[in-house]
């Protein structure tokens, strides 16, 4: 018993120290989550390219920075590399008729080799002391003082905010409308003269561009790119989108608009990493990270379904029907008794 209390005290006291790191990591993954939102929610396309394209973005950024390219240019290239990955998935799907999930898996697995080639090995690290990096985990230590880690988080927030603003603009344009209608009702979109294949490809390009950018940011933040850095990324992205969706719907209800939805993707990612860091402080070995994310996604996907089916189940129908019958019998008995009294 005392052990558990000690553990809780340890978690509560350590949490503030890990918080800046958790938040900045969550914001970076928030960029990825916003990318996933575009395909998963707007386009209605389960895109598994993500696991590959985040690694490609990271690899491109790290290699360019290591070769003296300015960090901003490297990030733009990471974005472009992600776009290219999305383009391939889009063409596999629309031009060659390969089902969406499979097209994503094919690109993802192909990118593994591509990432190995870009990195010229399994991983590559760069030091924040030698290069100017936008974000670095080294600067988010609480001991460094608020002005340092605060600015680090501030930069991450600015990036997320700029992306949300840009997407708000884009999805309000004529072309943004075509992507939204393609995801909602492709038949209708075609009847309105929209080339749904093209809009599908554009959405995948944009989404994976953001994922590549997230990869570039993440690689800078952790100081290295690794060929395995993308493994399970889609699950973390989905977890963030779904957590944000459930939370945002609960808070905003009908007023849950587009900007709020995107913002809550980022919030979802922060919450995901917060919960993960708490669980790890409680002593969950890092080995279980992926299992943890799978369980989180399963729970959040299952909750809406279970909630709905608990209101609408056969068991409930049987129970209600039995209850009604018993009630009927009771009133009949009572009626009979009353009649007897009257007699």
């Amino acid at each position: 018993m005392g052990n558990i209390i000690d553990r809780i005290i340890y978690v509560v006291t350590s949490l503030p120290n890990t918080l800046p790191g958790t938040v900045s990591q969550g914001l970076i993954w928030g960029v990825l989550a916003i990318g996933v939102y575009i395909t998963y929610k707007i386009l209605d396309f389960a895109d598994l390219t993500v696991d590959g394209s985040i690694g490609t973005g990271g690899a491109v950024a790290i290699i360019l920075i290591a070769n003296g390219v300015p960090m901003w240019v490297a990030l733009i290239c990471a974005f472009a590399a992600g776009c290219l990955a999305g383009l391939i998935t889009g063409l596999l799907n629309t031009l060659l008729g390969i089902p969406g999930i499979l097209a994503g898996i094919l690109t993802q697995i192909g990118l593994y080799s591509v990432n190995l080639v870009i990195l010229d090995g399994a991983n590559k690290s760069i030091s924040v002391d030698k290069f100017s990096l936008l974000l670095s985990s080294r600067r988010v230590a609480v001991s460094g003082g608020f002005s340092v880690f605060g600015w680090e988080i501030g930069k991450a927030i600015i990036i997320v905010a700029v992306i949300i603003a840009a997407l708000y603009w884009f999805f309000g344009t004529e072309y943004g409308f075509t992507i939204r209608s393609t995801g909602c009702n492709a038949n209708m979109a075609r009847a309105q003269g929209i080339n749904t294949k093209k809009s599908t490809v554009i959405a995948l390009v944009l989404s994976n561009g953001l994922v590549g950018l997230a990869g570039g940011l993440l690689a800078q933040y952790q100081g290295f790119a690794d060929v395995n850095m993308g493994r399970g990324a889609i699950v973390i992205g989905l977890a963030s989108v779904i957590i944000g969706d459930v939370l945002g719907t609960a808070i905003f209800r009908k007023r849950f608009n587009f900007v709020a939805r995107l913002s809550f993707c980022a919030c979802g990612a922060i919450i995901y990493y917060l919960v993960l860091s708490i669980v790890m402080l409680f002593g969950l070995p890092a080995t279980f990270n992926k299992l943890f994310s799978a369980v989180i996604v399963a729970i959040f996907l299952a909750v809406p379904y279970l909630k709905k089916s608990s209101k609408n189940s056969y068991r409930r129908a049987a129970r209600n029907s039995l209850k009604a019958k018993l009630l009927n019998m009771e009133t009949e008995e009572k009626g009979a008794a009353d009649n007897a009294d009257a007699d």
Binding site: F177, T178, R180, M188, A191
Partner: protein, 269 residues
């Protein structure tokens, strides 16, 4: 306006499920024609409309709209000339988008879509006025998601969308079949009004023979992927449902057995 010449289409060719859906359909529509199409199940009514809309490529024949052969154009390119309303009210609109956004999508049918605003302030005012004419109160719900509307409201909106940018051809594919009789009558009335006011050329597939007689200036009966009866003008005005049933037996050599059509026989809508 619209000319179909010997249009043929076979589905699942060379398999056990092979079905000759269109067996040489030829038809010529004048500008302002409003044709109703009737026939049994699998007669090729909706298939004819889908062939015109370009849902899939046809096997042979030609389809000309305004003198231009469109058989080589995919569905989204042909949409520049064609407005469509479908049987299922869910098909014609985007449920997760606002009423005004759906209208804005339709307004740009057949146009390049770029990075200008998807909907402008001026359009909003225009749509507000336009929705008023439907008399469904939708003008006060312009920012509501279309998914919240009833089937009848969605069909009325789809009709408005199909004609917002004047189409060369309006295709109505049993667009009242999924609605209750009262709503169906309203939507039909609205279709008539819109077609007349905009002098549209239209084709309407229906199972309701009374409606087929009442609406439009021309009536086509199909069977086995062919047009078996084509009547217009004065002659059409004097048609009765019984005459149509008799015509069907004469032309196809079989009885028109279709529950839906029999049930709608006495319907005077």
């Amino acid at each position: 306006m619209l000319t179909l010449t010997d249009v043929r289409k076979t589905f699942n060719a060379g398999t056990i499920n092979e079905r000759k859906a269109l067996n040489g359909v030829s038809l010529s529509l004048e500008e302002g024609d409003f044709v109703t199409i009737i026939g049994g199940n699998g007669a090729g009514k909706s298939t004819t409309l889908n062939a015109v809309a370009g849902v899939w490529p046809i096997d042979s024949g030609s389809i000309e709209i305004n003198g231009k052969n469109v058989v080589g154009l995919p569905e989204h390119k042909r949409a520049a000339f064609i407005g469509r309303v479908f049987q299922d009210p869910m098909t014609g609109t985007a449920a997760t988008m606002e009423i005004q956004e759906n209208l804005a999508l339709a307004k740009r049918r057949g146009q390049m879509r770029g990075l200008g605003w998807g909907i402008t302030k001026k359009e909003r005012e225009e749509y507000h006025e336009l929705l008023k004419t439907l008399d469904l109160g939708l003008e006060d719900r312009m920012t509501s998601k279309v998914g919240l509307l009833s089937g009848g409201q969605r069909q009325a909106l789809t009709l408005l969308m199909a004609t917002l940018k004047k189409p060369d051809i309006l295709l109505l594919d049993e667009h009242t079949a999924a609605l209750d009789p009262k709503t169906a009558a309203k939507v039909l009335e609205l279709s008539d009004k819109i077609i007349e006011e905009n002098h549209l050329t239209a084709m309407m597939v229906t199972h309701n023979m009374a409606a087929a007689i009442k609406h439009g200036n021309r009536l086509i009966m199909m069977s086995n992927g062919r047009i078996i009866y084509d009547v217009k003008g004065e002659e059409k005005k004097h048609l009765t449902v019984d005459m149509l049933l008799q015509k069907f037996e004469e032309a196809s050599g079989s009885k028109l057995v279709n529950d839906r059509m029999l049930f709608s026989k006495d319907d005077t809508e």
